[in-house]
């Protein structure tokens, strides 16, 4: 069953030069394994297409039930160089919320129950 990531996670994003980072946090701790399984660097890279020119790297924070993604060459040079309206990557996190992820019936039932 497919749901948007925003059903089970929230995000915040920012910049460091031409790199944008997205923190992805499970709304409930028990959905962290779903994030680890579903929100892979490959899928994040594919989701944003040519907006992210470089690679995508992922780090796990099991203590916070969260993932941190680094999106390289994601801000048209970043900072003062960038010609993008969102030169600081403030909206990348929100853009990830509609990533479609696969969950089992049981996992989804939990999600609905919590919402």
């Amino acid at each position: 069953m497919k749901i948007p990531l925003g059903r089970i996670a929230h995000t915040r994003s920012g910049d460091k030069g031409d790199l944008s980072n997205i923190g992805v946090i499970a709304r409930e701790d028990r959905w962290y394994p779903v994030l680890v399984r579903e929100v892979t660097p490959e899928r994040v890279k594919a989701h944003f297409g040519d907006l992210v020119r470089g690679r995508v790297e992922r780090f796990e924070l099991p203590n916070l039930c969260a993932l941190n993604f680094l999106l390289y060459e994601a801000l048209d040079g970043g900072g003062t160089i960038s010609l993008r309206i969102d030169a600081q990557g403030k909206t990348y996190g929100a853009g990830l919320l509609n990533l479609e992820i696969d969950v089992t019936e049981a996992e989804l039932a939990q999600a609905v129950e919590q919402n």
Binding site: T11, K16, G17, L51, T80, I81, A94
Partner: protein, 444 residues
């Protein structure tokens, strides 16, 4: 326990926040972060024009405004407001608040020593591209080392009411009072990591108390009167993040998690001037009443190098916009974009980049944006950048003519043609810490 608040997440943040932090509840230390990556170059230009300038000009009037309450309530202020001229900043603070003792941390500004450092073999390669600094030597506008918390703690030891730094790490402004009051040593890696993560949590101001917060944002109360964050720090390295009672906003575990992940890289190796902090060791506990407790933080020895923030002239850019309405707003904007590009090419103008966004369609999220079959209006936003100012200037004349000579409904040109802007870019590099000497000066 000591209370350390942040009343300014960047230069331009809410002017009332530091005043309210002092007036609305108990506080021991108030940190104010004024410097972004390219702020230093702007300040360097101001100093070149007037040797008495080159610091955050909002800061001295603020201290003048709150000096009396600072004394009455025993609040010490720490700010990186000094920019490239901390002594001038300190003198202006003294002029507006003659009863306060002001100490300055010096030594971060290496702009005048660059040639010596290069001659000594410090290449200061760009951390992102690997290019040596010598390739842009003649275009450099400022160069500052991010200093850590120990020199700032030394300044606190003078019993100053105000400590002014140039470029310091943001989190060092919060860590310094802990070092000063708790006697933490350079080898107390876990404690320094705890103080660093505490500083990271509050360094963006209200982003830790419900501002720019995604989780259930509609339910965050009274954002108009949002409280700015306060660390309640303990000598054992545990701490809580809270805000003054009765203020707006929210502090909860999900809110704090968003800020913890903000603008970090590898969470297990958060490299700062004073230590390497490990975000994967943080344990959070929601204590209710807008208070989250942090425990378990581990750290490792500080890196052998300090980060250097260098700014340099990169080139020129301009960004222009036109608005098209439905029907077929997006098709019209795409057609206008193609016309501009064809005209630029026929003029023989070369750019490093021509970047087009369709605002209202895909500007923020690119291919990840949800599609709308026929949006009511679309803003065409075209930017160019390159080394040639004349080419960029010529581009700025190519948008408004489309109102008459392009697809129908072109509007939103009331601001006239865009202005070419100089790009001052950021060059991150590393320098061995032995090459940097800091010192503290009390300004009488």
């Amino acid at each position: 326990m000591i209370r350390i608040a942040n009343g300014q997440g960047f230069w331009g943040d809410w002017l009332e926040a530091p005043v309210r932090l002092i007036e609305q509840g108990p506080l021991d230390y108030l940190m104010l972060d004024y410097l972004a990556e390219v702020t230093m170059s702007i300040l360097q230009k101001q100093k070149a024009a007037d040797p008495a300038l080159g610091y955050a000009r909002d800061f001295p009037p603020l201290i003048g405004r709150v000096a009396k309450q600072m004394r009455e309530r025993g609040v010490v202020v720490l700010a990186n407001a000094g920019g490239v001229n901390p002594l001038a900043c300190a003198r202006e603070v003294r002029r507006l608040a003659p009863d306060l003792k002001v100490a300055v941390v010096l030594g971060d500004d290496i702009f005048g020593h660059l040639d010596d450092l290069l001659a000594a073999g410090h290449q200061m390669r760009n951390m992102d591209t690997g290019a040596p600094l010598a390739t842009i030597r003649e275009r450099i506008q400022s160069a500052n080392v991010y200093i850590g918390a120990f020199p700032i703690a030394e300044a606190l030891a003078t019993d100053a009411d105000v400590v002014i730094t140039g470029r310091s790490t943001d989190s060092a402004l919060a860590l310094a009072p802990m070092i000063h009051r708790f006697g933490w040593k350079e080898t107390d890696y876990d404690l320094l990591a705890a103080g660093t993560i505490a500083g990271h949590a509050i360094e963006c101001g209200a982003q830790c108390t419900g501002g720019n917060c995604q989780v259930d944002w509609q339910a965050i109360p009274d954002m108009a009167n949002i409280g700015y964050p306060i660390i309640e720090a303990e000598p054992d390295g545990t701490f809580a993040i809270t805000k003054h009672p009765g203020t707006g906003g929210r502090i909860s575990v999900p809110v704090v998690k968003e800020q913890l992940l903000y603008e970090i890289g590898d969470p297990a190796n958060y490299m700062m001037a004073d230590c390497v902090a490990d975000f994967t060791t943080v344990q959070l506990e929601d204590c209710g009443n807008d208070r989250v407790r942090f425990t378990g933080i581990r750290g490792r020895p500080r890196p052998a190098t300090l980060k250097v923030s260098i700014s340099y002239q990169y080139g020129w850019k301009a960004i222009g916009t036109l608005v098209y309405s439905a029907p077929d707003a997006l098709a019209k904007a795409r057609s206008a974009d193609a016309i501009v590009r064809e005209r630029l090419a026929s003029l023989g103008l070369k750019f490093e980049q021509i970047y087009t966004e369709f605002f209202g369609v895909n500007a923020c999220h690119g291919p990840a944006a949800r599609t709308c079959p026929d949006p009511p209006e679309v803003q065409l936003r075209i930017g160019v950048r390159g080394p040639d100012r004349k080419a960029v200037d010529r581009f700025t004349r190519e948008l408004v003519p489309l109102v008459l000579s392009g697809p129908p409904t072109g509007t939103g040109y009331g601001e006239g043609r865009p202005k070419p802007r100089e790009i001052v870019a950021y060059w991150p590099a590393l320098l061995p810490r032995e090459a940097v000497r800091t010192r503290v000066e009390v300004v009488e």
